[in-house]
Symmetry: C2
Subunit: 340 residues, 2 copies
């Protein structure tokens, strides 16, 4: 059933039927009802390929997926996706994942924009002066950044959480508990979120006249193993930290293991706070010692990004609005006063 057949059986022109269906004003209410009715009764659905060719709109949102033999997709991605899917489903939006060589995403962005494959894209894990942002910005495709960049000479729409504030609060709590030697096990230092977290911690320390020594900060990709290694190295130094703030639950698993291996205890010898993106399959309250966390649901962020992308596509949202979500600090058993 296509437009031609439908319009023929209604004795109307394709134009009128098309307009009726798409809510244009130059159709009488009666005709519109008649058309809508017939369309529903015959299960007419406009062919998206044809619509696409005519309008250039695809009804899909895009994501360039960095891949490569040595590139691992972040497990956070799947939670973000859950949220995105929640929203997208209700609006019949599909998501196109365009795999790209992690060393050359630019080509892929150009391709999907030139081909008009998607109506909007989102960008995640931005870095300072991230070239992808400059690119999509000049290419003129609607986009939203999940996270923030820095040092760009233009504004852009984003959704981020208050990483700096979160880690500032975490550090402040530890300082109030008397800790003097804090350490940070962070994510990839080239990504903005890690920079913000470090900044937040430094700011809290500075307020107490302390600093974060180079030796007390580790930037690694977020695996259990890296958490373990980083913690071991920190704890085996001559002046080991009495508190660690850690950028992910997965790394925190490694930290806990390292603490055990060294015969230490949490929170007796070490206080631990980690950032929790709220995974259904790994919860901080279920750690051997319930873990204090800075918490923010990455899934909700996914849903919100989808919502805003949809708004941008339909022209409801414009400009470079940035949105920063506060982060909860949830105190559980893994923090205590500094050992004497």
């Amino acid at each position: 059933m296509n437009l031609k057949q439908l319009s023929h059986m209604l004795s109307l022109s394709q134009t009128t039927v098309s307009r009726a269906l798409n809510g244009y004003p130059e159709v009488s209410e009666e005709t519109r009802r008649r058309v809508m009715d017939a369309a529903k009764r015959h299960g007419y659905r406009p062919n998206p390929s044809a619509r696409r060719l005519a309008t250039g709109k695809s009804g899909m949102i895009g994501y360039v997926l960095p891949t490569g033999a040595s590139v691992d997709i972040d497990p956070h991605f799947v939670e973000f996706l859950s949220g995105l899917g929640d929203y997208a489903r209700a609006h019949e939006l599909d998501l196109v994942l365009s795999p790209a060589d992690a060393d050359d995403e630019e080509t892929t962005y150009r391709r999907i924009v030139a081909n008009r494959q998607v109506d909007a894209v989102y960008i995640s894990s931005p870095r300072p002066a991230d070239r992808r942002l400059a690119l999509v910005n000049t290419l003129g495709i609607p986009f939203i950044v999940h996270g923030r960049s820095e040092g760009l000479d233009f504004d852009y729409p984003y959704l981020d959480i208050d990483n700096e504030g979160a880690f500032h609060e975490a550090a402040r709590l530890l300082l109030q508990l008397g800790h003097k030697r804090l350490a940070l096990i962070n994510g990839n230092e080239r990504e903005t979120f890690a920079i913000h977290r470090e900044r937040g911690m430094r700011r809290a320390l500075a307020a107490s006249g302390l600093t974060l020594g180079e030796r007390h900060i580790r930037s690694v990709t977020m695996t259990e193993e890296n958490g373990y290694r980083a913690a071991r190295r920190l704890l085996e130094e001559s002046d080991p930290p009495t508190a660690i703030v850690c950028s992910s639950l997965i790394m925190a698993l490694g930290v806990v293991r390292a603490v055990r291996d060294l015969g230490l205890t949490i929170p007796g010898d070490l206080s631990l706070v980690a950032h929790d993106d709220v995974f259904p399959w790994l919860r901080p309250e279920n750690f051997p010692v319930p873990l204090s966390t800075t918490r923010s649901s990455i899934r909700l962020a996914g849903a919100r990004v989808a919502e805003r992308l949809a708004a941008r596509i339909s022209g409801l949202e414009e400009g470079a609005r940035g949105e920063v979500w506060p982060v909860d600090l949830v105190v559980r058993g893994s923090v205590a006063g500094a050992p004497v």
Copy 2:
């Protein structure tokens, strides 16, 4: 730059240019070279929307993503995706994720097929008599199943791992070590992989004249918390198992925690084997006691599925070929002789 312009500047018809570019034989080699050359020089890329409308082919592969407020996307998904992306990137295949209500995926399958949104789909986590398989089979879209169904009256192409064999081997090892009371902490019992794993274990036990009591088998979604709960319940019974086989590393985390909470040790009081899908961020050798595993890279499976989908799209693969990968049994410190 479109076909019309290109053909005009070559003083050729659109037909000839199109044929030259798409490798049709009725074009002289010289002309073809000239066309190819000009196309490359001017960076001509056929408009996919137009091609799509004309051919009905989209150059994308699809996946229906079950979503819903209470539906969590499996973290395995992201690893599978990594593999899929690895292959897809090299072939400029994009992946379309169509979010669907988890209770009604059928509508979405029908939609993406009717709309010709994708050239092929893959289906994961199949169940016995899975209606999705019957559906895509009758809809006539090329597809591959990651996993297997059962009790269907037609054959279909799939890629699966030998779950039954893997768990058979794991159980056999434990039996050889003198264990008599084995338990299984399995994934969702409605999915075929879980059924196969249980079957494998039962077969091994039966060969030793033993059985797997209903109380010694738990089917839960794969979270750390569920692993913990299941293990506690098993270990607090009157005749606790001396060995557990577990369907995922994430649940194994919970098992380890439960063992600790109960003041028991691995492998002294309990031997543990888990299935490892090979996540980069959580490795069995890094468990407090290195974990014995049945191992199969889900990432490689993703790449292979993409490869076969591409082959099906281009007509290189046909029929209902099933492919079953063997699974390694990797013995590490978490298994030992049964306690006396």
